[in-house]
């Protein structure tokens, strides 16, 4: 055993002459890669098949003047459909409504969701389960059901809101919430917020749970008030979680459809882009024009993503690509 220095020295010499070894190893690597794609492949292909293919088809269709009611008259119009859309006031109004809904819901949800997250985070053990269960009900409920619930509560015929809040200025028995853009949007946004705040608050809860308690305690010892601790310690450390939550919700709110469809059907100036696309292609069977709206909507989503990632440096994928 006392010859081990020699072993060490000769090992270095021998290892250089070993070239067959890597070949055998790379066979193993190849096998692992093959298996990786074999397992991940089907899901990957399905995801592409149900999204990439249709959006490409939509991009292609959008170049034609094509109605299902008159399939024979299909003709190539280039970017003509886009010209029609972008010069149509209706499109810009719908875009405005969509953006308004998105901004308002996300802002309100951020505040409300953070409050809920704080409550769930700090809650005593005895009520924590109850609170989380309650919070999950709106999350799990069907959006259409939520839309009907809010619709019936405010509806001039079957509602009780007018009755309950008649003492407020501007509200009386004859207020038809769904006959005016402002009031209709108010109820639509309320329903949207109710249904999706739980999701955002769970994302924020996850971020909150990641802020080490020591930081908070250190700030406490340093003499920070509750508000200072929130603003200077907790929130900065949750920035990533907040950004991800905001982006996800913004993209989700931007595709709002169900609530508007149920409550107003887009009437009284409450139409959103998704509804415009639906009405054009499914309703009026104008596939070419509808496809163009779809593509524009898709580009809007890409833009929001791009802005969020480039400007606000939201790290969506983060470190998740690598092996943990």
């Amino acid at each position: 055993m006392s010859t081990s220095t020699k072993t060490a020295a000769s090992a270095a010499a021998r290892s250089t002459g070993r070239s067959a070894a890597p070949a055998r190893y790379s066979e193993r690597v190849r096998a692992e890669r093959r298996l990786g794609w074999l397992l991940a492949g089907p899901a990957f292909v399905v995801m592409l098949a149900v999204t990439a293919y249709p959006i490409l088809q939509a991009a292609y269709d959008s170049l034609f003047n094509y109605r299902l009611t008159a399939p024979g008259e299909r003709s190539f119009v280039g970017l003509g459909n886009y010209g029609v859309i972008l010069t149509d006031d209706l499109f810009w109004r719908d875009l405005g409504v969509t953006v308004l809904i998105t901004v308002v819901t996300v802002l309100v949800e951020l505040v409300l969701g953070f409050a809920l997250a704080l409550v769930m985070h700090k809650a005593l053990k005895s009520v924590r389960g109850l609170l989380r269960t309650a919070i999950l009900v709106p999350y799990g409920i069907i959006t259409v059901v939520s839309a009907f619930a809010w619709f019936y509560a405010f509806d001039i015929n079957s509602g009780y809101v007018n009755n309950w809040f008649g003492w407020l200025p501007g509200i009386d028995q004859d207020l038809n919430w769904f006959a005016d853009t402002g009031t209709a949007l108010f109820v639509i946004i309320a329903s949207e917020i109710w249904k999706t705040t739980p999701f955002i608050s769970l994302l924020l809860l996850a971020g909150l749970a990641q802020v080490p308690d020591e930081l908070n305690e250190a700030a406490l010892v340093d003499g920070a008030t509750w508000w200072e601790r929130m603003r200077r310690v907790i929130l900065p450390n949750m920035k990533a979680a907040i950004m991800v939550a905001v982006l996800f919700r913004a993209l989700d709110a931007f595709r709002i459809f169900d609530n508007v469809f149920i409550m107003t059907g887009g009437a009284y100036g409450t139409e959103v882009l998704s509804l415009l696309a639906y009405r054009t292609s499914i309703g009026r069977l104008e596939i070419g024009l509808g496809s163009a709206v779809s593509v524009v909507l898709f580009i809007c989503v890409l833009l929001i993503c791009f802005i969020a990632i480039k400007l606000f440096k939201v790290d969506l994928a983060g470190a998740r690509g690598g092996k943990s």
Partner: protein
């Protein structure tokens, strides 16, 4: 029980990096072998190659003389204790220990399993916890469950992958002695991976020191300590670490930053032809000159130095002397520190003084160094120029004899029924 032979084992990863490079070790039946080294030295990879969780790129692995390179882990009949215990969280302690027995389906009856698990639980003091889930156990208890799973197997050998690194210091000491006693009682061949040199020194019959996949030296703890083959082993084994002083070789003395040290002629001869060597002196080779026995004084050399500060530990105290090395030497020491996975080596000498010494920092003091035990290292190759191979082998042979005796004693004791 089994002997395990590693013959020129190589593990190469996809990028061609050899994690384990040409390692050969003969592990005798019943021997306790430690694989030690800084992180990334390939010790865990080597262990996983033995147990069959990593492919062997080249070389042979023999268990009881039979080549097992291609065998699946379950065909090797080895038991392993993982770093974080690898307890099955969905199973109770009982079922965790019974797991390997249940896998060997038709070999054990339900009754037998119950008997074997209860028996193992009794030796490990887990009887009260058999129905609990691992999540409800303390660190030490989990550790014992993991050992229980190894014990019931009647495996040919036990492999440990840093089993104590997740425990606190006090528990670590306790579990260390439990593992040691268990190994002797069962007389089972064991391979134990650790980066903690206290574990290495206290547990191992022989300790294999690895660096960057290459076996540096395998020997009894005492041989490693007293006759290290190179700078790395010398620096890695021992705490506080050995001091390395740059020294110019003169015909009858070494010229060092703390003064000229006269040295025996044979040592100086071994270093002949080199301008500069590194003198390796362990902290405890120093002493307060005032407290050295007259009989010993002649074997060493007294000199004056100024301590920057000292630390009193009760049973002894450490003194620190700083010196300013040349840039080359500084770089050399930094590389060495990096190899050993340590923080930067400060250019200072640590000396261990008797607790009664009145020497304090900031004033010149008379120190004494035992020059017989100084080793000289080649700064280029790191080789120990003054290593006495024969003396080293004698130390390891001594340890070997002691191990045989202990195992025989343990077997004898087992034959005589112990009461209680």
């Amino acid at each position: 029980m089994a002997s395990i032979t590693l013959r020129n084992l190589v593990k190469q990863y996809g990028d061609g990096f050899p994690a384990v490079n040409d390692v050969s070790i003969d592990i005798a039946d019943g021997e306790f072998i430690i694989l030690v080294g800084p992180s990334g030295c390939g010790k865990s990879t080597l262990l996983r190659m033995i147990v069959g969780l990593e492919d062997i790129t080249s070389g042979d692995l023999l268990i009881n003389g039979e080549r097992v390179n291609e065998k699946a882990p379950r065909e090797r009949n080895l038991a392993m204790v993982f770093q974080n215990y690898a307890l099955y969280p969905h199973l109770t302690v009982f079922e965790n220990i019974a797991f390997p027995l249940r896998l060997a389906k038709h070999r054990h009856s339900e009754e037998e399993i119950r008997r074997m698990v209860t028996e193992a639980a009794r030796t490990l003091e887990l009887t009260d916890h058999l129905e609990r889930k691992p999540a409800n156990l303390s660190g030490g208890q989990r550790q014992r469950v993991a050992m229980g799973r190894a014990i019931v197997r009647k495996a040919d050998a036990f492999l440990f992958d840093e089993p104590l690194s997740n425990l606190d210091a006090k528990l670590r000491g306790q579990m260390r002695s439990e593992i040691s006693q268990m190994q002797r009682r069962l007389g089972v061949t064991s391979v134990y991976v650790t980066h903690d040199q206290t574990e290495a020194m206290t547990l191992g019959d022989r300790v294999a020191v690895l660096k960057k996949g290459v076996l540096q030296q395998i020997a009894s703890p005492r041989e490693l300590y007293e006759q290290p083959v190179n700078l790395f082993v010398a620096g890695f084994i021992g705490s506080p670490s050995m001091n390395f002083l740059p020294a110019a070789v003169e015909p009858d003395r070494l010229r060092t930053p703390v003064g000229d040290i006269p040295l025996a002629a044979d040592k100086l001869r071994a270093a002949a032809g080199r301008q500069v060597v590194l003198a390796g002196i362990r902290p405890e080779y120093f002493e307060d000159a005032a407290l050295v026995d007259e009989a010993k004084r002649g074997h060493g050399y007294a000199f004056t130095a100024e301590l920057t500060h000292s630390e009193w530990l009760g049973n002894e105290q450490y003194g620190y002397i700083s010196f300013d090395p040349s840039p080359e030497i500084r770089r050399l020491l930094e590389n060495l520190a990096r190899d050993m996975d340590a923080e930067e080596l400060r250019p200072q000498i640590v000396v261990t003084l008797d607790a009664a010494s009145r020497i304090r920092g900031g004033r010149p003091a008379q120190l004494w160094v035992d020059t017989r035990r100084v080793h000289l290292f080649d700064p280029e190759t790191g080789l120990n120029l003054t290593r006495d191979a024969e003396a080293g082998q004698a130390l390891t042979a001594e340890a070997e004899a002691a191990r045989k005796e202990e195992i025989n004693l343990a077997r004898e004791r087992q034959r005589v029924p112990v009461q209680g």
